[in-house]
């Protein structure tokens, strides 16, 4: 073999010029980044859920000296979350087909749902029947719903920004892929929201 320091090479060619410059679904690298992000935030939620149950074991009554959070706003919001899966799914289906108009309409509907959920969330905060400074239980309930609200707000802004972009000429292939990934994140928001609802509206009543 020739010296390793200055090798003489006559390489052959691997021609990739025919490859597409956009990818959808799990092949997209931004999709992977989103998965990692959901893993990080999912871990944060998992730890907060564990904290909630841990603190439950340190208390005799649950909730300790409070009424459980009021049900109504939460129930309506949960329904909104479940229904919002439809426009998210629609975006995810239309994006790989290149249907810009369908994606734009889907983003519009999803934005409406996200706005509604955010508005209802504000009301949910007023109906928790406790204040975060009361005790550890109240602190946990507020942080659970607060953390999720952070995600809801982020997702609302992201959806609105994508909606704005969808009205411009910049709605190219990669932006369609981004819109589909946004739906994935929306699913994450829905699932974590439903679990938070289960904890603060459900387990406070039967644990």
């Amino acid at each position: 073999m020739d010296s390793l320091i200055e090798p003489i090479r006559r390489p052959r060619a691997l021609d990739v010029s025919g490859l597409p410059s956009v990818a959808f679904g799990h092949r997209n690298t931004t999709w992977l980044a989103n998965v990692f992000y959901m893993a990080i935030e999912g871990m944060m939620f998992a730890l907060m859920f564990a904290t909630y149950f841990y603190l439950r074991t340190r208390s005799t009554n649950w909730p300790p000296g409070h009424l459980p959070p009021a049900f109504t706003y939460g129930a309506v919001n949960a329904a909104i979350f479940v229904l919002s899966i439809a426009p998210a799914w629609w975006i995810r289906k239309s994006a790989p087909e290149g249907d810009r108009r369908a994606v734009r309409n889907g983003l519009l509907v999803l934005s409406v749902f996200a706005l509604a959920a955010t508005a209802l969330r504000v009301f949910e905060f007023t109906a928790l029947n406790c204040r975060w400074t009361d005790d550890a239980y109240s602190s946990t309930v507020w942080v659970l719903i607060g953390m999720h609200s952070g995600h809801l707000a982020t997702e609302l802004i992201e959806t609105l920004v994508l909606l704005a972009i969808s009205f411009t000429r910049k709605m190219e292939g990669t932006r369609l892929a981004d819109a589909a990934i946004n739906s994935d994140y929306w699913y994450f928001v829905v699932v974590t929201g439903l679990i938070v609802d289960l904890l603060i509206y459900g387990t406070t009543r039967f644990l």
Partner: protein
């Protein structure tokens, strides 16, 4: 993908070819003062991480010297308890959060991983740059606090209730908590970049089975970061809430729990030390192979061990809490898990010995540091076995014995490999060789001083000296050993000064290094030293684990990527088959601006909750600016070009 006929001649001609000129132009990074803040190339950002982290190593070392000076005699008055408590807290926090992770994982990872993968740049280069600026922001917050007498003084892990609102009034502990937020977000950002690079930007032909061990380790570490950092973010976040807005997570009087903090913290804290150690092990595996002049023995066992260490590392955290009075059954479980983790680490050690034994060892400077690692980390690991045993731990926990243990594993497992790696990749980064003679002086001075200081501490712990005491009585019979321990500092300092002199001199007058001065096997050694801004003239392909050693002379290179835009190749996670093409976003000021707005919001929130609503709009604005498409080279719609599901 059909492989066509030979196309280009020797890489030696690359410098003159038009392709090189065009690529250099396309991939250029802006110059000048403002340009520095727009840079998104991984080699530049990687060096920034390493240089900045090294500065904090030196600052942390100064704090350590102050501690050793204070403890040199009983009832010393060099520092009172308030300053001492700040100094040891700053020492630990600086070393762990501002040096160890930024250097070992972020610095080395960001620099080497894309080169070793055969990629032109790291994935998500702007996120990478943002992570650097955020790290600097956190460092400035912590040290700004210290220099204005608001430095944290509750220990680097800040147990509640001491760090809570009742017993630590003022903003000292808040500064600690927010520094955690900065540095952990930074580490998470880099973890996403590195994991994506390793999974999606490997050179075609680099199947998982052919991935260098260093890339396996970085992948495992990135995943560990992703699952561990959230725990410390929750711990420090809940602490901040208790302190600033009156929650009661850790207040036993209102249903809170003090052990909750410890569980959350150590669930992060133990994986953290593997996040610090595994990059060191990665460097050792790389260097052992190169300087034994043979492919590493036990590739598969080592890879399995690295993955196992990552997993088991998450199941041992309670061994930091043996003294809290937990049920004996659970303590036995965590003893078993803590002992079990010796097995994968031992496997790596045995494979390294075997590689050297059956190879043709060239004891060059980087390898000398590897031997230092073997000695020092071995002792640290063995004292760790002692600590895994609950009865022994109950005696030596929170004493200088455990201080000795973790300095042996951290300095052995991170610092020695760090110097090995710096001397090894120095020619690649700077284009010149470091002086082997000065490097040897550096090694022996540091090795000697380190053992003098830290071996002595084992005995102090056995003699009953607890941690974190600013002084002790003359009748404790601790003075002699403390004097001995403090003298080692002189030699370690001398060693570090020799290192700095070596770096300075070698960068100016060191021997010019070619592409591959060590004749190593990795892809990073196929490019010039330092690498051009586009890394590889042609994205390479590989057909073996040690490309430069075993690939045939006609190993194909990738053609068909555009050289007028920053086009990169995305490959399959498992078999690195080319999948599609992507566009690197290029230099941008937005990561810096976003880091500024995020930092302002984080820092402001220490002082008032209004910082969140006031700070959020600028953050949102900079993030939108960052993510707003620029339509440089519009990607076609999926129905215009064939695409892959």
């Amino acid at each position: 993908m059909a492989v066509a006929e030979p196309i280009v001649a020797n890489d030696q001609d690359a410098g003159q070819s038009g392709l090189a000129r065009r690529l250099a132009h396309t991939w250029r990074q802006p110059k000048g003062f403002l340009g520095w803040f727009c840079n998104t190339h991984h080699t530049d950002i990687g060096i920034r991480f390493m240089v900045t982290a090294f500065i904090f190593l030196l600052l942390g070392g100064v704090l350590a010297a102050m501690i050793r000076l204070q403890l040199i005699r009983p009832e010393n008055s060099l520092m009172g308890p308030d300053l001492y408590n700040q100094v040891f807290t700053m020492h630990g926090s600086t070393m762990i959060f501002l040096f160890a992770v930024p250097m070992m994982f972020q610095g080395f990872g960001v620099y080497i991983v894309p080169l070793m993968c055969g990629a032109r740049n790291i994935a998500f280069p702007r996120l990478n740059a943002f992570s650097y600026y955020l790290y600097v922001g956190g460092a400035l917050v912590l040290w700004g606090g210290f220099l204005t007498n608001t430095g944290p003084d509750v220990g680097w892990f800040a147990y509640v209730p001491l760090s809570g609102p009742a017993y630590s009034p003022g903003h000292r502990a808040d500064i600690w908590s927010q520094m955690i937020t900065f540095t952990e977000v930074s580490a998470l950002g880099v973890a996403i970049c590195i994991a994506t690079t390793i999974l999606r930007h490997r050179a075609p032909g680099m199947t998982l089975n052919r991935m260098p061990i260093l890339l396996w380790e970085k992948l495992v570490i990135s995943i560990a970061v992703i699952f561990a950092m959230p725990a410390v973010m929750i711990a420090s976040g809940l602490l901040l809430l208790d302190r600033l807005v009156g929650t009661h997570f850790f207040n036993p009087a209102e249903g809170g729990d003090v052990l909750l903090y410890q569980h959350l913290f150590w669930f992060f804290g133990h994986p953290e030390v593997y996040i610090i150690f595994l990059p060191g092990a990665a460097i050792i595996s790389t260097l052992v192979e190169c300087f034994s002049r043979r492919r590493i023995f036990g590739y598969t066992p080592i890879v399995v061990s690295v993955v196992a260490t990552g997993f088991i590392g998450f199941s041992v955290w309670v061994h930091h809490m043996f003294a809290t009075g937990l049920p004996q059954l659970s303590e036995s479980f965590f003893t078993a898990a803590s002992l079990m983790i010796v097995i994968p680490t031992g496997t790596q050690f045995f494979c390294w010995v075997a590689t050297i034994w059956y190879g043709r060892l060239q004891l060059r400077l980087p390898m000398l540091w590897c031997f230092g690692f073997f000695f020092v980390f071995l002792i640290g690991g063995l004292s760790g076995v002692m600590l895994a045993s609950v009865p022994v731990d109950l005696q030596v926990h929170d004493t200088y014995f455990v201080v000795a243990h973790f300095h042996y594993v951290l300095i052995g497992g991170a610092l020695f490999p760090m110097f090995a790696g710096i001397y090894f990749w120095f020619p690649k980064m700077t284009g010149r060789m470091a002086s082997a003679k000065l490097g040897a002086w550096h090694f022996w001075l540091f090795f000697f001083g380190f053992n003098i200081t830290f071996f002595t501490l084992h005995f102090l712990g056995l003699r009953g000296m607890p941690r974190r005491i600013y002084t002790y009585g003359p009748d404790m019979h601790w003075q002699g050993l403390n004097i001995l321990a403090s003298t080692g500092v002189i030699f370690m300092t001398a060693g570090l000064l020799v290192f700095l002199a070596n770096v300075y001199r070698s960068m100016h007058t060191g021997e010019i290094a070619g592409n591959n001065p060590w004749e190593d096997a990795g892809l990073e050694w196929s490019v010039s030293s330092p690498p051009p801004p586009y890394n590889f003239l042609h994205v390479p392909t590989v057909s073996g684990r040690d490309p430069l050693w075993e690939d045939p002379p006609d190993q194909p290179v990738v053609v068909g990527l555009r050289d007028d835009i920053r086009e990169t190749l995305v490959t399959h996670s498992l078999d690195a088959d080319p999948q599609h093409k992507d566009e690197d976003p290029g230099p941008s000021i937005w990561p810096f601006l976003a880091a500024v707005t995020v930092s302002a919001a984080f820092v402001g929130s220490i002082f008032t909750a209004w910082a969140i609503p006031i700070g959020a709009p600028p953050v949102i604005a900079t993030l939108i600016g960052w993510l707003w498409p620029r339509g440089q080279s519009p990607t076609p719609l999926p129905n215009e070009v064939p695409w892959i599901h």
